[in-house]
């Protein structure tokens, strides 16, 4: 109780609310947060009967297990054979591993002129302080070019599998139903999540951008930084819902973004492959090692890879949750 404020005004202040919560009069989340338990899916009796009947039909008619000699023999042979085969494989691989050179030994075949040059001349030749980045984005950039397209094509395959065309659905009833079923799993307007996201998302983005930009200076790079940014996007989506994210990120954005990034990567690397193979001096300076703007194309390539990875992560999540954005 306050002496200066009236009863009504006191209720609105923080200490008033706190006091009411303490005494159990008011739950601050009641009415604010959508709290609904996920419905447990129960089979109705008819469905259960139908399923049992289907299984029985499958066993008797389709496979005819009692009279199907092939299936029965296969099942028996399979059990024995799979165990034997696994044992054989385990033994084989163990024998092979024990035959391999001892790990970390200086005389091993892997410690040859290739690794030596990467370590001794990596900084000088690529300008990247982080020699792993120098290796994957400069010495062996062709492999990484392929690898970033692996991510892209994996997303395309998921799009083929899970994306639903809005035009094809037609009626709006479908969309509403989808919205309801989406809310079953992910409640909307969760105050706790939104508050945490407000605090957490900007640092997550900043950290991701830092990892990408500093990929040639320390541990990090496009793949890891992109994954962090993708996680930030997913957190933002969970807190604020599709209506907010679709303002700046849709399937169209993703396609253009990844096309831009991959095209940029391909063109930049084509230039360096072409000049390298034809013995033309590249005009791109390596800069001073340690500075942000150094190590030639590596920074640009890291950004491209980061963009692709972030978009891929986010698209995977959205496709599996809703199938459309």
């Amino acid at each position: 109780m306050s002496k200066r404020l009236s009863e009504e005004e006191y209720q609105k202040t923080f200490s008033g609310k706190f006091r009411r919560w303490l005494s159990g009069e008011k739950d601050p989340f009641l009415g604010e947060v959508e709290m609904r338990r996920q419905e447990v899916r129960r089979e109705s009796e008819a469905e259960e009967r139908q399923r049992e009947q289907d299984e029985k039909l499958l066993k008797e008619r389709v496979y005819d297990l009692e009279h199907n000699f092939e299936v029965r023999t296969f099942q028996k042979v399979y059990r024995v054979f799979s165990v034997l085969f696994c044992i054989f494989l385990v033994v084989l691989l163990l024998v092979a591993v024990s035959d391999l050179p001892h790990f970390g030994h200086a005389e091993n075949p892997v410690n040859n002129e290739v690794a030596e040059r990467y370590i001794e001349k990596g900084l000088q030749e690529t300008g990247a302080v982080n020699i792993v980045t120098g290796m994957i984005l400069d010495y062996r950039a062709f492999d990484t070019l392929g690898e970033s397209h692996v991510l892209f094509i994996a997303t395309c395959t998921v799009l083929i599998l899970l994306r639903r065309d809005r035009k094809k659905g037609g009626d709006t009833g479908e969309a509403e139903k989808e919205d309801v079923s989406d809310r079953l799993y992910e409640p909307k307007n969760d105050v706790i999540l939104q508050t945490v996201a407000k605090i957490l998302v900007p640092p997550v983005f900043l950290f991701g951008i830092y990892i990408i930009l500093a990929g040639h200076l320390g541990p990090g790079g496009g793949f890891s930084g992109g994954a962090v940014i993708g996680a930030g996007l997913i957190l933002y989506l969970n807190a604020f819902g599709f209506a907010r994210t679709e303002k700046f990120f849709t399937a169209r954005t993703y396609r253009r973004m990844s096309f831009g990034a991959l095209a940029c990567y391909s063109l930049a690397k084509s230039y360096s492959f072409y000049t390298g193979a034809n013995g033309i001096e590249s005009v791109i300076p390596l800069g001073t090692p340690g500075a942000i703007l150094s190590s030639g194309l590596i920074l640009l390539l890291n950004i491209c890879v980061g963009v692709v990875v972030a978009g891929t992560m986010y698209t995977f999540y959205v496709m599996f949750r809703k199938g459309d954005y």
Partner: protein, 509 residues
């Protein structure tokens, strides 16, 4: 350095670039881009072939500013350039043959994604052919696997989803084994570049050090690639994948995807491990046995099928068996015959798939055997094309199938242990091929009998047939004619081809 030497690199980058490009275009534009890219790649590859043939020696192209064991490089010989050009031709014809099916069977909004898959698939095939680095090969094997999955399931039915799942599981198993093999090889040689591994393997096999690891690596890589190219006991994914996906997909999968892996295996045998080591290792004997089993079991399964496309798919199992049998002979003649059969099967199998779809068009879209009765009379060109393909598969002179069987038999002559098994398997397999292909040819040229019944009573469950003139689908007809001509060319001009393959194999060293 001559400017032509840039062409392999340009063709790889061009396809790689056009993949993401297609994702921002609409279906029609993407199709044009795709066609243009395939044509351009084909032209570039044949120019490279001309250059390499004139130069008489392979060349190495450095990808970047750092030379071989540190950076990436690609290596181009006669066989590589020819394979690249040939794959582009087949790819183009497959894509042309299936235009209408794609428009009907693929959702409007996803058409462009199909071309993304095809472009990246072509890119990965080119990279697999040209690469001189095992790890680059693995990266592009990944792209190849995922895009093939996408090609199967883009026609969205329950069957294709199941097929794609099976394909993915088996194919990833294969990739995993391949990667494991590469890891073992790297641990004992310390290199990923093919030429350097070869040198190290020579040293290792001379001293006898790390023998077990080397053999295990060879075994893992062979088995991995055998699974991915559907060698007999690992073929369970194949019939559904080829039988139910959209036409261009099944044609491309059967004629190109599996062949890309086989070519990689041949390169591993010759350029990475060295054929003498492979020959001593007895791994080839395992491939030989499975190849022979595949030749017979695949044909037996094909005989039991009641669906035309699934029958053709099972026949692929038998033909892959032929290729592995040739490799298993472990002689140069055997390898030459195998590579020739790769070409011959690629040309014939895609022809059969396109022709089968033409026959199905004339039978109300159904490819069950009872519906296609008389389809060769209703769609004349498809009938002729199917007959040509069947004759080639059975091994009639003038067609490519005959030449490859002849070379397999010649390669086996005088082989100490493998001569008689090869002859017997060839004979049995030829008879089985003749049984199921000629059965089909006779069926499509048997006029459908009109059932005597009450007027107006519909025949239940039988699809309605209609006759299709050649000009109704001009593009598909053109593709079919090109396929037939290609088959005849392969069959009639086998001598220069064989010389080309031989000099290509010599260039591997």
């Amino acid at each position: 350095m001559d400017f032509v030497q840039n062409f392999p690199f340009i063709s790889i980058i061009l396809t790689l670039f056009s993949g993401p490009l297609c994702s921002v275009l609409n279906g029609k534009q993407a199709r044009r881009v795709n066609t243009a890219v395939i044509v351009a790649d084909g032209i570039l590859s044949f120019l490279v072939l001309g250059y390499v043939t004139a130069a008489g020696q392979p060349f190495v192209y450095r990808m970047g500013h750092f030379s071989a064991p540190w950076g990436n490089e690609i290596r181009v010989g006669i066989l590589e350039a020819f394979m690249a050009g040939f794959f582009c031709v087949i790819m183009l014809l497959c894509m042309l043959g299936g235009i209408r099916e794609r428009e009907v069977q693929i959702e409007e909004g996803k058409q462009n994604l199909y071309y993304v898959m095809v472009n990246l698939l072509l890119c990965s095939l080119l990279a697999l052919i040209y690469t001189n680095d095992l790890f680059t090969a693995y990266v592009f094997v990944e792209i190849n696997t995922i895009s093939a999955c996408g090609l199967i399931m883009i026609r969205q039915t329950g069957r294709t989803f199941e097929a794609a799942t099976r394909y993915m599981i088996m194919s990833l198993l294969g990739s995993g084994l391949l990667l494991l093999g590469i890891c073992y090889l790297y641990a004992v040689t310390g290199h990923l570049l093919m030429s350097n591994i070869r040198e190290q393997v020579r040293v290792i096999s001379a001293t006898g050090q790390y023998h077990i690891s080397l053999m295990v690596a060879l075994g893992l890589m062979s088995v991995g690639l055998a699974i991915k190219s559907a060698l007999y006991p690992f073929h369970a994914w194949l019939p559904d994948a080829y039988g139910y996906s959209t036409l261009s997909s099944s044609a491309i999968l059967s004629s190109l995807v599996s062949k890309g892996y086989i070519f990689l295996l041949i390169k591993i045998f010759y350029r990475v491990i060295g054929f003498d080591v492979v020959w001593e290792s007895k791994v080839v004997n395992v491939l030989f046995v499975f190849g022979i089993a595949g030749m017979i079991m695949g044909s037996l399964s094909a005989m039991k099928e009641s669906n035309l496309r699934r029958m053709i798919a099972y026949s692929s199992v038998a033909q892959i068996g032929y290729i592995y049998m040739g490799l298993g002979l472990a002689t140069e003649a055997g390898s030459v015959a195998s590579i020739y059969h790769v070409l011959s099967h690629a040309a014939t199998k895609s022809l059969l798939f396109v022709a089968a779809s033409g026959l199905a068009d004339a039978s109300g879209g159904s490819d069950r055997f009872r519906d296609i009765t008389g389809a060769g009379l209703r769609n004349k060109l498809a009938g002729i094309a199917f007959m040509a393909g069947s004759l080639s598969m059975v091994g009639m002179p003038m067609f490519s199938g005959f030449i490859s069987k002849l070379f397999f038999a010649q390669a086996a002559v005088g082989h100490a242990h493998k001569m008689f098994p090869t002859f017997i398997a060839l004979a049995i397999s030829t008879i089985l091929n003749a049984v199921y292909f000629m059965k089909t040819v006779i069926r499509i040229y048997t006029p459908m009998q009109k059932k005597e019944g009450v007027e107006g009573e519909a025949e239940t469950g039988r699809a309605e047939g209609r006759s299709i003139p050649i000009w109704e689908q001009p593009v598909k007809s053109a593709a079919l004619i090109c396929f037939i001509v290609l088959n005849l060319m392969l069959g009639l001009n086998s001598d220069p081809l064989i010389r080309l393959i031989q000099s290509g194999i010599e260039m591997f060293d």
